[in-house]
């Protein structure tokens, strides 16, 4: 019997769980029903569970849907379905003719994009491909050497333009770098000036303080001197 783990402890482990739900929903045949009912006579677990499940079923019955508005089902057909339906309305010969017509139109449009020209010349068809810059067909007489030269010229012209662009960008980049360096130099110089000025001020203050201290020390020494032997202070 396949019992999935449910995380709930069950006291009923008689192994008749599937029979129990079959009986509960009235899907047991007469013999199965009789056998299970005789099992119920002695299996408390199944009897209790049957009661519990009956209560759960009554509770489940409380949730009935009321009068709900009919869901609107709009069967939107895909464009492909609609096209198929439309095509299906025409007879087979008409569909065939339409298919040939569409194929021919597609072919002509593709050829025109590829610059193909079909002309009648000397009693036969002439098909040519490609376009010139002014839209006229290429002259078939243009030799491969001329084509090569044209290509080389175009490449050289393009290279020249690229070099010009590169040089212009290089010059602009150099100017930008110079300007940045100049600004940095000026800032450094200004900072240096500021520092020098500050150092000078500090030095002056220090000197003044030193002079003051020196002077007061001399005055204190002068008055502290014992001048009884030398009242004039000049050694007389």
């Amino acid at each position: 019997m396949n019992n999935e783990k449910n995380g709930f402890d069950s006291l009923n482990d008689c192994g008749r769980k599937e029979d129990l739900v079959t009986y509960l929903y009235g899907e047991a045949h007469a013999t199965e029903r009789a056998l299970f009912e005789s099992h119920l006579d002695y299996c408390d677990g199944c009897r209790n569970e049957l009661t519990t499940f009956g209560r759960v079923r009554r509770d489940l019955g409380a949730w009935q849907l009321g009068q709900v508005a009919r869901p609107e089902i709009v069967l939107r057909r895909s464009r492909l379905d609609l096209l198929r339906e439309l095509v299906g309305m025409f007879p087979a010969w008409a569909r065939g003719a339409a298919f040939v017509g569409v194929a021919a139109a597609v072919l002509l449009v593709s050829l025109s994009f590829a610059g193909t020209r079909i002309s009648l010349k000397d009693g036969g068809f002439v098909v040519s491909f490609g376009q010139t810059n002014n839209g006229s067909p290429l002259d078939p007489a243009v030799s491969s050497e001329e084509v090569g030269r044209l290509v080389q010229n175009a490449v050289a012209e393009e290279r020249e333009k690229m070099e010009e662009r590169y040089n212009a960008r290089l010059a602009s980049f150099k100017d930008q770098l110079d300007a940045e360096h100049q600004a940095e130099l000026q800032a450094a110089r200004a900072e240096q000036q500021e520092q020098l000025k500050a150092a000078r001020v500090t030095l002056q203050q220090e000197m003044r303080r030193f002079n003051r201290q020196n002077t007061s020390a001399e005055i204190r020494a002068f008055f502290a001197r014992d001048d009884s032997s030398d009242p004039w202070g000049d050694g007389r």
Partner: protein, 190 residues
Amino acid sequence: MEFSDDQIIERTLAGETDAFSLLVRRWERPIYGLSLRMLGRDEDARDVCQETFLAAFRNLGKFRGDAKFSSWLYRIALNACHSRLRRQGAMAEQSIDHEDDSGRKFEIADGGLEGLPERLQRDQRAELVRKALYALPAEMRQVIIMKEYEELTFAEIAEILQVPVSTVKSRLYTGLQQMGARLEKMRGIL
């Protein structure tokens, strides 16, 4: 004369596309009910209903007929529900307590001549059931819904889910057991 599902399918496949609307009318209510009980929101259920019938219409040519059309339709609807639940993720859990945006009381049946106290009591029970049902894993929930509300047989559910009948019974048993425990707990809180 009432046409069988298979007859309507035949007519639809023969080019009578309007015949499909007969199938829609016949099955829209059960599919809507299943989706509503699986997802819990009227809006989502309507979307799933629409998706289910569109998918069925577009793939009708692939319907082999070895299973019942209704089983096929239920399977499409359940797949759509599961996709939506996966997309919603945690939001699906939050929607348990969510009222319908339009304010419709879609989940409670009309009480008819029922008195107000009885009606309130039944509404309260329905709400408990709804919450207990959403707390179950989807695989158990869907079996209970199909058995209790759609009244499908074990064999039909097994066909829809493409699992053995014993698995259906086992899931139902476990689901009912968990429902019983949760309902008891909720009643205790109330």
